[in-house]
Amino acid sequence: MRYLSHTQADRQAMLDVIGVESVDALFSPIPEALRATGLDLPAGLGELETRQHLEALAARNRIYGGASFLGAGSYNHFVPAAVRSLTSRAEFATAYTPYQAEVAQGTLQHIFEFQTALCELTGLGAANASMYDGPSALAEAAFLALRHNHRERILASAGLHPEERQVVATYASGPGFEVSTLDLDEDSGRTLVPTASELEGVGALLVRQPNFYGVIEDLRPLAEAAHDAGALLVVSQYPVTLGLLAPSAQVGADVAVGDVQPFGNARAFGGASAGYLVCRQDLVRQLPGRLVGQTIDADGKTAYALTLQAREQHIRRSRATSNICSNQALNALAATIHLALLGPRGLAELGEICVRRAHYLFEKLLEMPGIEPVFAGPFFNEFALRLPLPAAEFSQAMRARGVDPGVELARFSGGNGHRGGDRILVAVTEMNSPEDIGRYLTAARAVLAGETAPDPAAEEAPDA
């Protein structure tokens, strides 16, 4: 076994030091009745064979490259090689949570930088070191709000991602917090501003920006309504938009959450990436999870350390703000590095490319017979369409032509996905080149025309 170094001679010598006869003696504290007799698992494989097994699995997955137009919370953004190169450095990857600050300044400082970057993006005052993902960050943010204003009701926009809504509901089920829903305007797709009575007793108003259907919300009136009712506005965001759209604080958010997957983290079937949670400075003692603070060391040098730990489980135990212990530090690092490479201009440009390409594809698709937008509200790089045929059929026919055309919305009405429904959610990023978009259009036209045989050769170049 290549990962173990003891030889039998080592083992015997060590048993002698311990003063027992055999390895079995070491396990004497385990009652006889429980002593297992081996494992029903195959013998170990060498690295070559392990690789062959996993490579065969990877080959069973189908990768669409730039011809994938799926979003809905996981986006096809470019990850620069420097991000992989740096995050794979053993000093980052094989370290633990920075409990011994003196030998963990690397981790502590990059978390401090992550916190700073999130504050800059959102305009809010305090970010933590990361959460498991966007949805769980939203649930924790709702709890934060309820702790702050001592309430027990959560009002959730129908524009939340269905899965994040479910996560909030699951978290709320323990303490029994109530979660009710705020509808969308049928025309624009924007969240309707809640009335005072809807907000009665509500501690947290949860809104997604852009919302699940891609529509950019107008947050100011929602914030006002929430604040008038003594509730906090919690915004769940697609952070790429923050290079162009007004920062969260400016439009009234008290807490902002999201997932940094678009920054430096592969889609990886949905994980791992990192959630973030940023709040107003005055709410900092309600933050869940780790926080890094800057301080000075015994010699007066700038140094970093975990701070405000009295909020955390290992100190406060049952009165902690959350049970979170391990978070997603390495994924947060990937995001920090990617943001440092992008800089403010890069982030804005990235947003622009996404917006332009998405709007181009949108306009072109609307020219096709029977395709209609689901909502009229403004969108960034993702939009929902109504198709003249079942979405599952459309998707299958498109995939036969090498294009994964978008997420079938019926997937979220229960079941194992896409049965029935004519709506599809399409996302466009910098990875979908003009040629990929042309391919989408050609394929869609063929599918709508009822052509059966895929013709991978013919592609449409955009008339740029």
Binding site: Y3, L4, H6, D10, V17, G19, V20, V23, L34, R35, G44, E47, R51, L54, L57, S85, L86, E91, A93, A95, Y96, T97, Q100, E102, V103, Q105, G106, T107, A117, E164, V167, T170, P175, L245, A246, V251, A266, R267, G270, A272, L291, G293, Q294, A298, K301, A303, A305, S326, N327, L330, I337, R345, R356, A392, D404, G415, N416, G417, S433, D463
Partner: protein, 519 residues
Amino acid sequence: MLEMQPPIFARSRPGRRGFDLPAAGVPTPGGPEDRPGSIAGLLGEVEMRDEPPRLPELAEPEVVRHYTKLSQLNHAVDTGFYPLGSCTMKYNPKVNDELTGLPGFAELHPYQAVEDVQGTLQAMWELEQQLLELTGMRRASLQPAAGAHGELVGILMIRAWQRDRGEGHRDTVIVPDSAHGTNLATASMAGYKVVEMPSSAQGLIDLGSLKETLSRHQVSALMLTNPNTLGLFEEDILEISRLTHEAGALIYYDGANLNAILGKAKPGEMGMDVVHVNLHKTFSTPHGGGGPGAGPVAVGETLEPYLPAPLVARRPDSAGTGGAADLEGSADTYRSPEFYFEQERPKSIGRVRGFYGNVGVLIRALAYIISMGGDGLQQATEDAVLNANYLRARLRDTYEIPCDRMSMHEFVASAGRQKSYGVNARDVAKRILDSGMHAPSIYFPLIVPEALMIEPTETENRETLDAFVEVMRQIDRESREDPELVRTAPHTTPVRRPDEVLAARRPVLRWVPEDPVNG
């Protein structure tokens, strides 16, 4: 040269860039007349940013050098011994990182059609089967992102089960006083009252005190760790299980310490109802400086209906071809590839995160288990336990070992003796850093004064263990002969004892350009 670095924001200079983006390359449909082709025009009535966020502006070489130098300030498993108790800092095989990075895994979108994702579903399914064999449980969810997340899932399942049986009034979770903080925090996050039970003199659960607690409270669950945080196996586990179940409560088994018992004992056979497993400990996935981890939760019969949805399932009669023919009459699926998601689980507590879990971590763990095999995992456990007992035997002369019995994969020493020379556990830990090794966990578990919780893991060789013994002995000598040296340690690290009080009193949680400290 290990030198502290300025924050990356302080290195920024306006106009630099580390990334070249392609042109949009498509015509922009007209916006309003006054802003044709502009982004604001495209977006319509949307509030735009007035000023760009103050992200750092740097060229790629500057970014690479910054983070390379930051990395050098870290201690890590690959750079030295890391006997941090309860954290299982074992070697993280390189091949597993590479395999997880294969485009077939890394570039998969979570909502691709089920027939396009068979490889990853198979990986998840295989891992689940392996974990079930290792824990002796019936079914597992791979969704939780870490151990504490798994705990939350477990406790919420128990709560849902109890409400289903009309016992929603049970409002208490009990934990031994040696428990990890997450256990208590989890229980209260799920709305429970928490009662801590004092441990016995042997460091184990005291049956008398368990009985009493069970009778005095409306107990919903007992949470325990086995081997516990002292590294001791709960010898009365079957009795504990019987008593708890008789009282109508279930048992949550914190499997963070599973490394101690692979192939030696199974929580399922101990009568445990729900177990979480830390893939980032026992199953060798890298900790990443605090994550990502993964905390799959495995359950027995009672809780199976409550697992988070979706679960991965395999069509029993599948030919393994991954074909796309329709399967008539199935409520859960609409096609018949070999693997699929079981979505409709009416009693499920629901999701605890988006998508399906930290899949990249799952794949690493699968590769690890396949590489080790059943025998290898058992050998790993044996060596982990051997290493811990070896260190315990060799340190016993110089350090107090409060519960000095056969331990499992870790044990707890105390700096109590050294305390009498004016040196506490923190001082000992800091002085260890000067030797190029990491310190043990300190002041945990809470029941041992001046605790030094030592977990060597199986991937350390004997020379390293012996070197650690030498360091510990030397520190003991120093404590007697020159305690000031120890009290002011570390002396060779890039910084020394950051002022935590200051950090908490005047929290500086982000870089601000005006701040003179950051110049």
